[in-house]
Amino acid sequence: MTSAIQMVDITKTFPGVTANDNIDFSVDKAEIHGLLGENGAGKSVLMSILYGLYKPDSGDILVDGEKVDISGPSDAMRLGIGMVHQHFMLVPSLTVVENVILGREPTVNGVTLDMERMLRDVAESCKRYKLDVDIEAPVYQLPVGVQQRVEILKALYRGADVLILDEPTSVLTPGETEELFNAVRELKADGKTVIFISHKLREVLAICDRITVLKRGKVVGTVLAAETGEGQLAEMMVGRKIVYEFTKEAECGLEPVLRLEGLECLSDRGIPALRGLDLDLCGSEILGVAGVEGNGQTELVEAVMGLRELTGGSVKLDGQDITDTQPKTRIQMGVSHIPEDRHKRAIVPDFSVLENLVLGSQRDRFTRNGVSIDFAEAKRFSTDMINDYQIATPGPETLIRYLSGGNQQRVVVAREFSRDPPVVIAAQPTRGLDVGATEYVRRKLVEMRDHGAGVLLISADLDEIWALSDRVAVIYEGSIVAVKAVDETDVQEIGLLMAGGGNE
């Protein structure tokens, strides 16, 4: 049997890094092939080469046994290779159908869009691959999980036989992940090949036939999913055992460090997002906020950070009312924030790693004679952070946009935690991180708690909430419907509450 894709001896270097180092990688027809590796291992680069976004320094690509030259995405598409990027490529105000057919529009007479055919074709693919999408809705109205299905539809509409999914589940809720897997299995049954990148070992084991592990640009090995387990995979990736279990020892004092009372605000679309939300965060605790995405988590974080105007309620820090203060003041008062949208809120892509690390502290900590930035001190600090947090970068002066997603997140975490804040707002802090980095960030969160900080952990990943939290709060339609100590509840109960099945 010939392989659908064969990549032979691929090498790709960037200034200072060898992203792919003599990689041999092959995928069979109608196979679901997992690609694993730490942050910066070279997964995205390898797939970008396959999709024609990067040109390899050396090496060959064979599609169906024939050597091909892929110099751009259009070549890849012609060869039946489709890719769903980590960041979606959809036009928000266009409808699903319009996004799918864009660039390949069917027409009636060469001029007018053939609306009927568009709708028919796209609806047909939806049905065939069990992708449930309202195809006439504008994309901006759709939750991320559905947007991803649109991306898949787009690739299929362009005739993809091989579909590359780069960390497709990092933005999905557990339910959405299950739906994605059903669609992927459907694709396989239809003879399509899928390359699946993820950091979640459990998922990779559940969906893939074979798994290839990369480490620092090299192939560690390819194993059959049926013959391996999480332990072996983690060891292949990191070279040691991974521990995800932490002791819980929360002690809630008299006064909460953060008290939210009756928070009310509107979403970007002008509809109520928070409806009288009450929540107390104690010192020395990790309080997990569980909920299906889109129930007000984003707005909750923004309200606490002063990034969204409140229509009611108050925010108190250590008993002091900070409802009307600027985000800057809140940061200075010790509220740290790991935002869920790294690119929009956490980093400045065209700043260096150093600049991103001192961002926010530049006014006090790194100021010399009250005006200029003390670059010597900033440099010392960033070098320390790069070492402490094992940020893989050629140096502090490298622009952060050139770092892999996981390493960008490490920069954010390093910056926020270095301020030794009494309150940490962590929104999806391990999204897109590999197992090693996830363990690291989680350990740091626990460490912050042990030092007396209150940590508000907003996560779409119930496993994460379970692993870390002392208490779990469930958010549903803009208010907290229950707060439970973790040892007094279970996943079933929380799951039910998340779905709106309150027991009152």
């Binding site: 976004l53 995405p73 259009s74 598409m77 490529m89 959809l90 036009v91 928000p92 105000s93 266009l94 319009e98 996004n99 057919i101 864009l102 660039g103 390949r104 529009e105 027409t107 001029v111 007018t112 869009l113 787009k154």
Partner: protein, 308 residues
């Protein structure tokens, strides 16, 4: 008071339609440019240069229609210039547009001097005769308002409808909308982003060019120094007020045209100092921009598009 009420008659509405026409052409032009992510502050200058070019060609050839064609070509050329600066060289859109405006003012005044020996005003030239629609003209009130106008006035709603059709019913329109909002997504879907941008910005200039031709070859039959009088900027306000949608933009232009017509009538009454009356359309522009449109969201973020 009686006098004021006398103002409100069919003549006023006919004038409103006339005054709305140049604004609407330029506003639609601005819309196409902004739809692909490029602000066109140069509408004013493009209209002015086209108004001049139209008169010059009519002067030399004796044909007003050749003048209109020339005006459109001049507009298209200036659009191309704006596109080269803003798309090819990713230059600043405001600087390029302002440059066009300053250049236009100087160039047209200088060339008037060369051709007609005066900076103020050209000789009278052949202009486009008005058209009377036979049956429509007979209908009592409607006939007076809509019955007799320049062909360019009647062309306006047709172009508006065509714009709507192109933008929302054709592959080209789909690509235009995608390019403005998310060029990278469009490019990865196989759309030639740069080509679409050029097309729309050139079209923007051509439409503004028709607006200019209307002013100098239809509304009047001469070129006057600075005769656009800020209509290019009012057009931008109409474009924003119309939320970058063809029919709404046309509607907004009618509103501004009405203000313009009203202003002219009030002047003839002499009840208020002319300075105040003259300011009415501009005050309306500022008021609308500051108030109603405060939340209008443009179809793009005006960033130059750079390929990976």
């Amino acid at each position: 008071m009686v006098e004021l009420l006398d103002l409100i008659n069919t003549g006023l509405f006919a004038a409103a339609i006339r005054m709305a026409t140049p604004i609407a052409y330029a506003a639609l032009g601005g819309m196409f440019s902004e739809r692909v992510g490029v602000m066109n502050i140069g509408l004013e200058g493009i209209m002015l240069t086209s108004a001049f070019g139209g008169v010059a060609v009519s002067y030399y050839t004796g044909s007003a229609w050749l003048g209109v064609v020339a005006a459109v070509l001049v507009g298209g050329l200036l659009g191309l210039f704006h596109a080269i600066i803003t798309v090819k060289y990713a230059g600043d859109q405001v600087v390029s547009g302002t440059g066009i405006n300053i250049l236009a003012a100087g160039f047209t005044a200088y060339m008037s001097q060369v051709i007609w020996g005066t900076r103020g005003s050209s000789d009278a030239v052949n202009s486009i005769p008005d058209l009377t629609i036979p049956v429509l003209k007979q209908i009592p009130v409607l006939g007076e308002v809509f019955g007799t106008h320049s062909p360019l006035v009647y062309l306006m709603p047709i172009i508006t409808a065509a714009s709507y059709y192109v933008l929302f019913k054709t592959p080209l329109g789909l690509r235009i909308r995608a390019v403005g909002e998310h060029p990278t997504a469009a490019e990865t879907a196989g759309v030639d982003v740069v080509k679409i941008k050029y097309m729309c910005i050139i079209l923007s200039g051509m439409l503004a060019g028709i607006g200019g031709a209307f002013l100098s070859l239809s509304h009047l039959n001469v070129f006057n120094k600075g005769m656009t009088g800020g209509r290019g900027f009012i057009a931008m306000a109409a474009m924003i007020f119309g939320k970058w949608m063809p029919f709404s933009v046309f509607g907004a232009s009618l509103l501004f045209g009405f203000a313009d017509a009203l202003q002219m009538r009030l002047q003839s009454l002499g009840i208020l100092p002319p300075q105040i009356i003259l300011a009415i359309p501009y005050v309306l522009t500022v008021a609308i921009l500051a108030g109603v449109v405060g939340k209008a969201k443009p179809p793009s973020d005006y960033k130059p598009y750079e390929k990976e």
